[in-house]
Symmetry: C2
Subunit: 87 residues, 2 copies
DNA sequence: TGAGGTTACGCCTATCGTAATAATG
DNA sequence: CATTATTACGATAGGCGTAACCTCA
């Protein structure tokens, strides 16, 4: 698992659409699609249901989403606190 | 910043020695040394003081260490909770 | 049949390991 | 001068983007 995968996941979960997530993150769709699949494989279960209109969060995805947001915030907090401590 | 960098950092901080951290993580010393330096550059300040006997945590390093442990735990918790939810 | 997700494929960057080098008490 | 960290360097793997393809209401 990587922080990029977590960021991609959160964007897709919030946009419910890979293409919009890609534009928001300034990357192409395929990297997002691949990283989401890789994350699902690592976690052992699908996080989204694919529909012709986009991506619907499954229950496992909802669980991961809450934790994922916390991880990204924790990284920011760690960065800021360390930068402050180093000045 | 990557989760690998955070794991490398925690190992070095706990072992106070790059070589021991490397053995513990089953990688060679140079990757650890490089990733620590890269992390320090990203955070804008050194995290360790280099001595001929190893690595001493600086104040900024102590700050980062506490946050870093929390991030790694959060990743584990997120993984376990999601695996459970998907079963 | 159109909107959106996925696969194929080639490139390119990042990371690794081995070996050589530096630094310091 | 021994111990430890770092730099050099070549090899490999992982990630990205473009283009082609699939899927389903």
């Amino acid at each position: 698992m990587s922080l990029a995968q977590i960021r991609y996941f959160v964007a897709v979960a919030e946009e419910r659409n890979v293409g919009r997530a890609a534009r928001r993150l300034h990357v192409a769709q395929p990297p997002i699609s691949r990283q989401i699949r890789s994350l699902e494989e690592e976690l052992g279960s699908p996080l989204f249901r694919r529909t012709p209109r986009g991506m619907d969060l499954l229950p496992a995805g909802e669980v991961f989403l809450e934790h994922a947001r916390g991880i990204l915030v924790a990284v920011e907090v760690a960065t800021d606190a360390t930068r402050r401590a180093g000045s």
